[in-house]
Structure formats: C-alpha cells, structure tokens
Symmetry: C2
Subunit: 308 residues, 2 copies
C-alpha cells in the first residue's frame, strides 16, 4: 500500500446491528419489552436491514433475553428487514420457529477452553448440537448465521491459531450457514493479525460469506474493520452506542459502535443504506433508557453539534 | 489490498507525545509545575524520545502553559530525549532559547478562517511571523517542527483541499522545518481521505518528513493512523489517556490515545522503543491528578487486568 494508489474496498457493506442481543444481554438493568420493540423499530427506521433482536437461551443464563418471543411478536413487519435470534440447540430452534423468525444464529468458539466455559462443552460437541438445528432450519426455510468467537484471542488460552478458526468456520458452512461472523470476543486483535485471519479463513470459506464482529476493548475495532474491508470483507457486525460485552470474557467490553463504523464507511464512500443521524438517534434512545452516555464518539460529536 | 498479501508498513515509528502541551492546554483545572515535571519524567521513562512539554504563548490566551519555562528548568536531562515547545513568534522564540530548549514548533493552519480565528491573522501573515523564527532557530542550532492544522476539515470552512495543506507544508519545509505534523484538528477525517491527503502532500514534502496528528472526535483516529502508516508515514503524534482538544474548534475533543496507538503498533510488529505498561502508568498518573478516567481503551483494559 506504500506509495500512491487508493485502497481497494467493497462498494457496499451489509451492517448487522447486534445491539438488541449482544448489546443488552449483559446489561445490569432490565429494559422493558415495549422499549426494546420501540428501539428495534427505530433501528430499522434508520435503514438497517439485519438486526439481531434476541436469543432463545435459558433465562437462567441470560435473563435479559427472556422476553425474546414477546419482542418478536411485537415487531412490525418491514419489507426487507430481517430480525435474527441466537439459538443454542433444538429447543431454542423450536422456540424460534414458533416465534416465526426467518433467521437464526448459532454460536461456536475457536477455543476449546472458551467453549467449555461458555457453552459447557467441547467445540466438537457444540457443532454436534448445531447440526440438527441447521437441518431443521433448512427444512423450515429459516436462514442460519454462524458465529465463531475468540477468533483473535481467547481469555483463557491467549493466542488462537487462524487455522482453528478456519476449521470451525468451514464446518458451520458445511452445515448450511449462509454467513460466518468472526468474533474478536476480547478485542485483542490488531489490523495485520485481522488480515492474516481473513487470508487463512478465506481459504476455507468464501470471503463473501465472512462477517467481522470486533469488540473495541483495546480501541482497535475500527482499525481492524478497515483492515478486513481491505481484504474484501463486506459484512460488519456492530452495536449502536458501542453497547455490549461478553460475560465470560474478562475485560471484553463494548462492540464496535455502529455510528462510528457508519461514519467511517460514509467517509470511505461505501454504500450501506443506513442514515447516520437516525442511527445516532436510535442509539441515544437506548442510552437514555439505560441512563448512560453513549460509547460512540461520532454520536457524541454529532449530538454536540445538534445541540448548537 | 484485496486478496492475499500483507500490509506494507514502516518497520519503526517515532511517537511524539503531545499530552503535556496539546493535552493540558485547555484543561479547566491547573496542574502544578511539580506534577507536570513528574508526569513528563514518567513519560520519558516509558521510552518516549519526543515529548512536547509546553508553549511560550501569551498566558492571557493559554494560562495552562504559563509555567513552561519552570517546567523545562525542572526536567532532568535524559540522553536522547527531546523536549519541544510551541512558539508563535520571535518573542516566544527568545523565551524558548533562554529556557535552553533544543526543539521548537510553529503552528500554521490550512484554512484561512481557522487561521484568523486561531492566531488572528491570515495564513500568509502567520508564515511571515515564522520565517524569522526559523532563521533564528537555525542560527541557534534549535530544531523546528511545523504544524499544519485543519488538514482534513475546518470547523468554519468545512472541506479543506489537500493542495492547500501541501502549500503550507511546503513553505514550512522551505523555512527549515525538519518535520511537518498534519493535524486533523476536528477529527472529521476518514481513512481514504487521510491517504489522499498524504498522496498530495507527499508531492510537496518527502513522506519521511510527515507526521500524523489525528484527533479522535469521531472515533476515527486509529483507523486514520493505520491508513497513513500504509502510505509510509512513520511519525505519529498522540497524547496519553487521549487528553486534549482544541479551544477554537467546535467539538474537537481528544487526541489519539498514545496507549491505543502503541497497542496497535505493537500488534503490527512496528518498533517504537516505548513500553506500553509504563506508558499506561504515566497516563494513569495524570488522570489521577485530573480526577478523571482515562480515555484510552487499551489503558482501561490493561488496568482492569492488572487489578485482578
């Protein structure tokens, strides 16, 4: 890249808003079902077409998501907007199907120790649980998204080899996942390693099917997203206001803030179909409900100006 | 950059710590001279070799820098460590020379309106003031660094053409500046525009003499730094704890946090000679004095772990 010449970047990027699920699941305070529904509708109103709205996991483990079925029931159907939910097993799948969702997501780890601590089983066992889920989903015409966590580091094992990520990603694709979201769960990744990861995983899964899900724990999320955009990744997961974190990963705070990501993509001339002002307003809405300032710097700067 | 292949990046980067000047100049509260001296010594102890410690401007305009001469007088001489100061005119230069500094910096803008609002004169007039300063500095064997502000946007004029930045940069080099620091004063830059700026300015000034001085107002600083590293820029300005801002630029908050920058450079395998742990401790030291949390996410994450 030294010397002249422009960055080669995707012309369009698909933004996947994970705030309502990944953003809220570990919040100390409860957000009412009605507020979740209004928030999600505001997010969709900003132009977002993919929003992860909840998960059908045991309320014992994730109480914040216990009302997922009611949230889905309350959401207005919008053309071209897809609401996804996380499901850990067949039981979760049945709940998702009854709720009438068109897309589900399954969640595997690239680190054995993280897998055992997070879903209490080995990577192979977790994939074994997802196989019937993916088959049933295909029969029911429900799309399946696959997550791989700890792709750039594990809180227990430290370094995670890209080949381990590629193996899990390949198996999830083989099961019928249409997209694989690579999660830097603890946010320790840096740009060159993120690019190396994509190089390796893209040998097992087409880069068009890869999504980047980066946490900003060390302030690296946007730089890492830029780095993988340069590798052709065109699907980015983020959460408005930089909400979220991982309860099982030490110091894993905050998804990349959707507003900051969109500000960058707009500046890069990449098409997303999302309106920054409305997205920032949706972020402010949930921050007001949570009674906390936004973690999005772009949102803070824009609201500062709006205030004048 | 699409497809395989590694990023081409500089093997070494020179970090310029601007916290004691750009970071403190607009702080509402006063930091005692003794504390500034201890802080700067801790910064130098982390391995930083270039630290901007103050400015010889009218205390009427920047009261926080009124004790710059005392700060310099109190600093221990360290081999290979250079302490710089900002000077606006000959009067400031004389004060800097009397203080015995080895490096000064002059500050010009790429935007006429910003220049008039910031230093109350046109760009040409400000350059006219710097000419005798640069001549006197050369005679005295004092190195001169040149700043150009508003390189990626002006709070009053909006877009700033890269050619305007290149013209000012070229004039400053012609006067004898050994390095030109390009400042995204209001933090509105995004990576492709930052690269386009470097492409244009590098036609007027060798890229080896360019430094990137990016503010994180919209959360873009690290992505922009990565983008210019890919263009061969190997000098990065930053402030520990993400301190700083610009009093004359609406919403211009926070320099890139030195800890986040160093975390990225370490991950990229780029040599800096700076120790992240000690740098983060120096950042925590001044945050404790200011009674505020750090704005560096890497520092926050590292201290969280240190606490366990």
């Amino acid at each position: 890249m030294l010397g002249k010449g422009k960055m080669r970047l995707p012309a369009k990027v698909k933004l996947v808003e994970v705030g309502p699920r990944d953003g809220l699941q570990n919040e100390p305070q409860t957000i009412s079902t009605a507020v979740k529904i209004e928030w999600i509708d505001r997010l969709a109103g900003s132009g977002l077409r993919f929003i992860e709205v909840g998960s059908f996991v045991s309320p014992k483990w994730v109480p914040r998501m216990a009302d997922t079925a009611d949230v889905i029931a309350g959401l207005a159907v919008r053309d071209g907007v897809r609401y996804g939910v996380l499901v850990p097993n067949m039981r979760g799948f049945e709940a998702a199907r009854s709720a009438g969702v068109k897309e589900i997501a399954v969640f595997a780890a690239a680190s054995e120790t993280f897998s055992r601590n997070n879903v209490n089983c080995s990577i192979a066992e977790s994939l074994g649980r997802f196989r019937p889920v993916c088959e049933a989903a295909q029969t029911a015409g429900i799309a399946v998204r696959g997550y791989v966590s700890c792709v750039l580091g594990c809180p227990y094992e430290g370094e995670v080899p890209p080949q381990a990520v590629a193996r899990v990603a390949k198996e999830l694709m083989a099961m019928g996942c249409y997209e694989i979201s690579l999660g830097d769960t603890i946010g320790r990744g840096t740009p060159a390693r993120a690019q190396g990861l994509i190089d390796t995983v893209a040998e097992a899964v087409p880069v068009e099917s890869l999504a980047a899900h980066f946490h900003d724990t060390y302030g690296q999320a946007l730089a890492n997203i830029l780095a993988v955009l340069e590798k052709g990744v065109a699907v980015i997961d983020s959460a408005v206001a930089g909400l979220g974190g991982c309860p099982f990963a030490e110091g894993a705070t905050g998804n990349a803030a959707s507003e900051d990501v969109l500000y960058m993509l707009n500046g890069l001339g990449i098409e997303t179909g999302v309106d920054l002002k409305q997205l920032a307003q949706a972020g402010q809405f949930i921050c007001d409900q949570l009674g906390r300032p936004t973690a999005s710097k772009a949102a803070r700067a824009l609201s500062g100006k709006a205030g004048r």
